[in-house]
């Protein structure tokens, strides 16, 4: 492109970028995809963000020396402008360190589309989680079937009010799937709290409740560990 002479009027750009630009959104994005076909562009068309009508310029600053969207520490704030529910969950007492700047949304999500549902970087929820939590991958001799199927059956990855990012409070969460004779089906309530005279209190309710004994909730590889206590 010819540089305009001093005083000469600069020609209008072929395409404008941003919400106020006259250029049609698809054409705006196509200008970026033309160079980023193999990474950002590979799964863009038809992805959740593309379907929602996002522009590349909604997140990226192409002319800045440092694009804030490419700094992981900025991602929770940037993504949180639209994903307000997830932003609120990050503030909960038990959460991945997103709000603390030690982890980015892109550690689990491919914002431009990918193989996994919910824009996950892995092929599915568990594959994504195993990237950092490979100790839970197994396969184990004694599998805990829901854990093998989907970590989110029990965990809320953006944050929870319960320890270990669990969806609900234990032991009650466990009792939604385990109602066997004796202690698994016991009605645990304030009668199980500790009294003034020690020792007292229910071992199924206090401390780590079910995990006071069943330590291997994700599965056990011990030949005597069928009850996930080994």
């Amino acid at each position: 492109m010819r540089r305009p002479a001093r005083g000469e009027r600069r020609a209008a750009p072929d395409r404008g970028f941003g919400r106020q630009a006259a250029t049609e959104p698809g054409q705006q994005n196509q200008a970026c995809i033309d160079c980023h076909r193999i990474d950002a562009g590979m799964h863009w068309l038809g992805s959740a963000h593309e379907s929602a009508g996002l522009l590349c310029s909604d997140c990226h600053q192409s002319h800045a020396a440092s694009d804030p969207a490419l700094d992981k520490a900025n991602e929770p704030a940037l993504c949180g402008t639209c994903h307000q529910q997830q932003r609120a969950e990050m503030l909960r007492p038990s959460a991945h360190p997103l709000h603390d700047g030690r982890m980015g949304c892109s550690d689990c999500h491919a914002a431009h589309g990918g193989l996994g549902s919910s824009l996950l970087t892995g092929g599915n929820v568990n594959e994504t989680c195993y990237t950092c939590h490979a100790e839970l991958r197994g396969p184990f001799l004694w599998e805990h079937a829901p854990a093998r199927e989907d970590c989110m059956h029990c965990h809320r990855p953006h944050g929870s009010v319960h320890p270990a990012m669990l969806t609900q409070r234990t032991p009650f969460l466990c009792q939604q799937c385990h109602l066997a004779q004796f202690h698994p089906s016991t009605a645990l309530s304030g009668t199980g709290l500790a009294g003034p005279n020690l020792p007292s209190g229910s071992q199924s309710l206090l401390g780590k409740d079910c995990q006071n004994c069943h330590a291997q909730a994700h599965g056990s590889n011990h030949p005597s560990g069928a009850s996930t206590t080994r």
Binding site: M42, D100, C132, R137, A145
Partner: protein, 740 residues
């Protein structure tokens, strides 16, 4: 014991500061044509006061002074049209326990190489234990230990307690390189190693039934390494893009098991050798394993605006660590007449993934898409009969009718999804979206072998003028499936001879429906709106409502309702003021039903007795509030900023019981966190500024499971005495920022 703390600035920190400053100074000469934003150094001193276990949960810091260095340096920028090399160095929190450093070298369209390191510290929980050898894989009791059947008789328990800190440190190192060649080809390879070390708690149980367990909570040593390697070759043609990739992940655990000395005396139901002093227990720790995956992907622009994507991935998860023995107790091991059927599991899960997507965005008002997804995890691990020894406390019972004779269930999973979606644009300001998705799941060794779910969604979005936009979305789904066989895993994992001894031949109540497999009707609403009354103001609101109805579940989770409301506002004046705020409230309600029953002669009677029903109503509420204001004063020479954030979570569980049972109320649980951040930047010159920051954090929590529950609270479990955090901490930061 393995603790991680950073108190006063160490010689290492000071050295890092000096080196960084020297490096930064030398770069001034070398990079005087780069944009300012990527050439800055912050050097600071932080002082933290107060009990700050949770405050330092991801930084590893405790009380005292710390030196902090942040810097960002570069030469050129990524869009250098002349094709000159561009390098970048970014460092954060150098001097703290959690530094992060990344460096890259890029030549646009030719190559890129990079490296990174960061450290994360998590946990930081205080506890107490009488065990010795903490940090190792064998834990013993102090001399003079007095065993007893319960903690009541353990006179040496409290005097023997020693402090420990449960904390994990993860170091991550990574390198990578990308090479572009022959115009349209790219090769990329990256390797990463995560090493996790530290301590966490895990239960060490002795005992062989639900009636005779004795537990001491153990500090589990962590020394785990995960190595990841990814390589890919890509072709980016104008219409066709291809990508082939290899992913390897290898997990290595330095500890295969954890042995501890039993602090309890032998009790009824245990073999005599299981009690103190000779009784030992052994746990298995996460086994070494690996995962490898090959992937192929293709994307084709069939015509402009219409694209076809096909992705295939095939992989294998493998685990073949040698089994630990049935028991670590040599006396009990001598009773073994049915040896292990194999030395290791030889576990294998084959994974297959197919994703096909066709999407079209033609010029007209309609657009549409089609998705198909096949996700299979085929568990090929061998199935055998194992005769376990319950909690290192009994002789092996290898009879055919033994409940200890168990057959493992290598569960498999296959999911197929088929989706269609369409959108219609009304001019340039509104659109209507709709979609339907069908999901089918097949499982093995499950109470429900087939599940099916149909999901519909409908959304409307609109912009009114330049100032207002709003959207409303509804999602409804219905899940059902094959006949629910609640006792199928029980039957499949025990011998028929044992099943014959169990009245009713079930383990869980027949009326139970596990929530992830149960019939479910879900309805979701989401509303979002934004309003910009002027160029300075932006207002936003969103609300969500999700209702799950487990309509056929007599027992288990029966109903849930989750609601949330979020409000946002921001203001930016031309005179240097800016402000922002948000407020939100979430409500979560879960209802579950159950029936308490015991074993023995009354088992079936009680399992059918509605007077033994109980239910739990969970009600959680989370409030969050944030306000911030910033102002530049004195002709922009001073910037002031203040931020306040509050979050409060309240949780209650109300247990109601039938006439045959008794119950008492449970106290509410609460977690409340409040932070105040004050910062002022004094711009000493165009390139140099001084920042003074103050942060206060107040955290209070109350949890009946841990509050005041010490090592000797429970009769049969020696806990670590981890209490709910409750602290107030102040942090002061003074830093000098220089831009080159």
């Amino acid at each position: 014991m393995n603790t991680h703390s950073a108190n006063a600035p160490s010689a290492r920190c000071r050295l890092a500061m000096v080196i960084s400053l020297l490096l930064a100074g030398s770069l001034v000469q070398a990079s005087n044509d780069a944009p300012e934003a990527c050439r800055q150094v912050d050097l600071g001193l932080a002082y933290v006061s107060g009990d700050a276990f949770r405050y330092g949960r991801f930084t590893g810091n405790s009380d005292g002074a710390n030196a902090v260095l942040n810097m960002e340096l570069c030469r050129g920028n990524g869009h250098d049209a002349e094709g000159r090399p561009v390098w970048r160095l970014r460092a954060r929190d150098v001097g703290l326990a959690t530094p992060a450093v990344e460096a890259s070298l890029l030549r646009q369209g030719r190559y890129r190489v990079w490296g990174e390191f960061d450290r994360l510290v998590t946990g930081r929980d205080a506890g107490q234990t009488p065990l010795q050898g903490v940090g190792g894989a064998s834990l013993g009791l102090p001399s003079g230990w007095v065993p007893a059947a319960t903690t009541a008789g353990m006179s040496q328990l409290l005097p023997s307690l020693g402090d420990l800190t449960l904390s994990q440190r993860r170091n991550r190192r990574g390198i990578g390189a990308a090479l572009w060649f022959a115009d349209s080809w790219k090769f990329e390879a990256r390797a990463r190693e995560d090493r996790k070390q530290g301590l966490r708690s895990i239960a060490g149980l002795m005992g062989n039934t639900g009636g005779n367990p004795r537990v001491i909570m153990l500090p589990e040593p962590l020394d785990q390494r995960t190595r990841l390697f990814d390589a890919s070759l890509s072709h980016a043609g104008p219409r066709l893009q291809l990508r082939g990739g290899l992913h390897l992940s290898d997990f290595d655990n330095a500890h295969s098991g954890l042995v501890w000395q039993n602090p309890f005396a032998a009790i009824a139901g245990w073999a005599p050798s299981a009690g103190f002093p000779n009784g030992r227990g052994q746990l298995s720790l996460p086994p070494d394993n690996r995962f490898h995956q090959l992937s192929l992907g293709a994307g084709l622009d069939i015509v402009p605006g219409t694209r076809l994507n096909l992705d295939l991935a095939m992989g294998q998860m493998r685990q073949n660590q040698a089994f630990l023995p049935y028991t670590v107790d040599p006396v009990l091991a001598a009773s073994v007449v049915a040896p292990l059927p194999r030395a290791s599991l030889d576990g294998r899960i084959d994974t297959r993934l197919v994703v096909l997507r066709l999407a079209s965005r033609p010029q007209g008002p309609w657009s549409w898409g089609f998705d198909y997804r096949f996700d299979e995890r085929d568990n090929r691990s061998p199935r055998d009969s194992y005769v376990g020894i319950g909690g290192d406390s009994q002789a092996q019972d290898a009879s055919e009718a033994s409940g200890r004779r168990r057959i493992n269930l290598p569960v498999s999973y296959r999911e197929q999804r088929l989706g269609l979606n369409a959108a219609y644009r009304f001019g340039t300001r509104s659109d209507l979206r709709m979609g339907i998705e069908r999901r089918d799941i097949d499982r093995t060794w499950s109470v429900r072998s087939d599940s099916e779910e149909t999901r519909l969604n409908l959304g409307l979005r609109s912009r009114i003028g330049e100032r207002f936009h709003a959207g409303l979305r509804w999602v409804g789904s219905r899940r059902s499936g094959s006949t629910y066989l609640g006792n199928r895993p029980f039957l499949d994992s025990h011998t028929p001879a044992y099943v014959d001894t169990v009245p009713g031949a079930f383990e869980n109540l027949p009326g139970l429906r596990q929530y992830h497999l149960a019939d479910r009707e879900r309805s979701q609403w989401a509303l979002v709106a934004g309003f910009a009354p002027s160029a300075q103001w932006n207002l936003g609101a969103s609300a969500g409502w999700t209702r799950d109805d487990y309509r056929r579940s007599e027992f288990g989770l029966t109903d849930s309702l989750q609601r949330n409301v979020q409000l946002d506002a921001s203001f930016q004046s031309q005179s240097g003021w800016s402000a922002h705020g948000f407020a939100g409230r979430e409500w979560m309600a879960f209802d579950q039903a159950a029936r308490a029953f015991q074993g023995g002669a009354n088992r079936l009677t009680q399992a059918a007795d509605p007077a033994r029903n109980w239910s739990a109503a969970h009600r959680d509420r989370v409030d969050s509030l944030g306000l911030g204001v910033a102002r530049r004063v004195l002709d922009g020479r001073v910037s002031l900023r203040a931020d306040v954030a509050q979050s409060r979570a309240l949780g209650s569980v109300q247990v109601s019981v039938g006439p045959a049972l008794s119950a008492a109320p449970l106290p509410e649980n609460e977690a409340r966190i409040g932070t105040l951040d004050l910062a002022s930047d004094f711009h000493l010159s165009e390139r140099t500024s001084l920042r003074l920051g103050l942060r206060q954090e107040r955290f209070r929590s109350a949890d009946f499971a841990t509050n005041g529950v010490g090592p000797n609270t429970l009769a049969n479990v020696i806990l670590l005495g981890q209490d709910s955090p409750d602290y107030r901490v102040h942090a002061i930061l003074l830093s000098l920022r220089h831009r080159f």
